[in-house]
Amino acid sequence: MTLLSITNLSIAIHAYPILHDVTICVDPGEIVAVTGESGSGKSMTALAAMQLLPKGAQATGHIMLGDQDLLKLSEQDLCNIRGNDIGMVFQEPMTALNPVQTIGDQVAETIRVHDRSVSRRDALARAAETLERVGLPQAKFPLRRYPHELSGGQRQRVVIAMAIALRPRLLIADEPTTALDVTTQAQILDLLKSLAKADNMGLLMISHDLAVVADMADRIIVMRKGEIVEQGETQTLLREMRHPYTQMLFAASNHKVALPAAPAPTPLLDVQNVSRDYRLPRTTVFGSPGTFRAVDNVSFTLQRGERLGLVGESGCGKSTLTRAILGLEQVQGGTITLDGKPVFTGNKPNLAVRRKMQVVFQDPFGSFNPRHRVDRLITEPFHLLADPPKGTARDDAIAEALTAVGLTPDDAQKYIHEFSGGQRQRIAIARALIIRPDLILFDEAVSALDVSVRAQILDLLADLCKAYDLTYLFISHDLSVVRTITDRVLVMKSGQIIEQGDTETVFETPQHPYTQALLAAAPVLPELGEVDP
């Protein structure tokens, strides 16, 4: 018998349609993945199944859990079902737990809120068992731990423990691994898979990551703009891909660009034995504070015209190294020179060098002042120049930069809120290009974008490489992107560069065990048309 059957579900929030005629079934023990780009309605589908829709949402259709229609139940009945029959895991493990309660109390609460007769002690004992089950043994992770004492992956395990403590029939996981590193992601996905199998629990998983979905799911549902465009058994769907949107989505996820050949190597950026220490808080009143070495004796050279990648998991020192290269922070050892001149002189960044570098950040929404027009935003780097262009020269520079990134000169008079995420990232690139820097740093510049938009931005970068002979350092945790957009790659772990070499060589024959583990953990999309029958 079907466990969850959503039929003809339509949702509108204040009369604005969000979902249209969505029909989804999940059987016991089955893993169904809903995928699609942002705004496709996949998270709203998950919240609807939980009946935790935002205020003002109107739902029509049926959401049948067994023989109960969730849309017809009272709030009290729904409270009895949530956590008991349906568990839910969220995207952000860092914020999904109450920071002022121990993990033991939080897991035990799921048990006690549904059965008042269980004593606190018994509930805690069962919480301990559940935590053990999700891979948090009591010896290392006692019940009295607080969330802030755990890593992201460990916190996600606690969230999963809360969701499965009562062995629900259905587990809903909304982007459960999006915020996690690839090696952690692989572990959490394995855990979810094994739990679904062991408890014969239906798993409805929401993910934008097609590689994850293809790897995990028994069945895939592709959504776009609130509607289901295609659904089917994973293997069948991957083989046939009837809908053009599905094809586009998979093609974009695996997007490859052709970079022009790099010019003859002449060194541009030279990083020699660089170390960066952070002071730790004092542990004793009068003792000297300890230090944390975020970047440890890093050396590499970036040639002019070279596209260099920097990969590593969170906390490996990527961002610290980026800030040091930009001259934003003083390093405690070693030298960083651009064209032979130090990026940091005395106690401040060296402006003569600083104007030769620009940076593009991850967040297309947070990295612009919302009250400035585009022309002012993208000419900001002119402050670095001794003699910035004025009048028509300035207008020409703006028009050229906007045209180069695929926008029009007319966009100069608009405000940033008028642009989509992808367009904003184009504007960020225009801002970096406008002073024709020798070096651009891309700090997770495509990580926040949908796959189709990401593919366009990668194409844009390849085009710009042809037109401008760009030299860049591309920092990312996304291995597939780094693979296509760089010539050479550095792999960073615990502040050190543990492997470097030509991108293809490193990806094909990784030497260091960590690089091997990283590549093995990264979910890989099956090549189109090469799916096992």
Binding site: L52, C79, G87, L97, V100, E109, R282
Partner: protein, 315 residues
């Protein structure tokens, strides 16, 4: 937690030392010689010199600072220039009015503000919320002495439930004392409660939007259970900050209310001693208030740590 407490204690002592130095210096710089003020403008130079010696004003500044601080530590606050009585006794007598009044008002303010803030937050945008918000807007806007006068008009003059002013003293019994302080405490508490309720509401609303509140609902908690079990404690940090500030204000800031109700409190003492250039009293009272502010801040810091485990581990 122990390390955190010790660190806060050290910072408390440093703050007190710095505060005593600043107070001493500022009052030294302030114009007006207490001796000539006490004797009037026609005083003979010899009499003036004799009085200055008697008051200890001719000693060096360092000596006077040290003897003042030494006195404070041993409970000897010196002798009032005008009343010729020990400052410690004067302050103690006034403190017996001001401290209970401040605590009374703070308790009332918290008792009003917490339910009001929680009620408003849980009914965001609905009639109940708008009602509470309107009332608190009024409470913030209307000065407390106006409340005081209205309270006197209604409860003392018309209903005759309370006396219109004065303080009977604690020797008449706890009940009589509290009875006399009730109207002033209400007048002091209302504007504070209005502020606190607004802070409580907005802190709770911030917390209600947090991811862990959604997690709590996903576990099967009702909206009300989620609010009480997960929302309230997380919302307490900003609320505790305001409570700490309010207590300090209530202790000394009640001067207008003391005036309206003829209460012999600290506020009036400060006012009178400033008018009379009774510097030693001013110094001592100001130091006492600074001391209470710093101690309250210390207690608030400890309360933070009790509420939020992240502060405990961050030594």
């Amino acid at each position: 937690m122990l390390r955190y407490t010790i660190k806060r204690l050290i910072s408390l002592c440093v703050s007190l030392a710095v505060a005593s130095l600043v107070i001493f210096t500022v009052i030294e710089i302030a114009p007006g010689d207490p001796a000539s003020f006490m004797l009037g403008i026609n005083a003979q130079p010899e009499t003036l010199a004799a009085l200055r010696t008697e008051l200890g004003l001719d000693a060096s500044k360092v000596e006077r600072y040290l003897s003042w601080v030494g006195g404070l530590l041993t409970g000897d606050f010196g002798t009032s220039y005008t009343y010729r009585t020990p400052v410690a006794d004067m302050i103690a007598a006034r403190l017996w009015v001001s401290l209970p009044l401040a605590l009374y008002a703070l308790a009332l303010s918290t008792l009003i503000a917490f339910p009001a803030g929680i009620y408003a937050a849980s009914r965001r945008g609905r009639a109940g919320d708008l009602g509470v918000m309107g009332a608190t807007q009024l409470g913030v806007a209307v000065p407390n002495f106006w409340f005081a006068m209205m309270l006197v008009l209604i409860f003392s003059i018309n209903l005759r439930w309370f006396s219109a002013g004065g303080f009977v003293g604690w020797d008449k019994g706890l009940w009589a004392g509290l009875h006399a302080l009730t109207l002033p405490a209400i007048a002091l508490a209302l504007p504070q409660a209005a502020i606190l309720a607004r802070v409580m509401r907005s802190a709770l609303l911030d917390v209600l939007g947090e991811d862990y509140m959604r997690t709590a609902r996903a576990k099967g908690l009702t909206a009300r259970q989620a609010l009480w079990r997960h929302g309230l404690r997380n919302a307490l940090i900003p609320v505790l900050t305001i409570i700490g500030l309010q207590f300090s204000f209530l202790l000394a800031g009640g001067i207008i209310i003391e005036q309206v109700f003829y209460l012999p409190g600290l506020g009036r003492l400060v006012f009178q001693s400033i008018s009379a250039r009774d510097l030693i009293v001013v110094e001592s009272v100001v130091m006492l208030l600074v001391f209470s502010v710093i101690v309250v801040n210390f207690l608030v810091d400890l309360a933070y740590a009790a509420v939020d485990p992240r502060l405990r581990s961050r030594t």
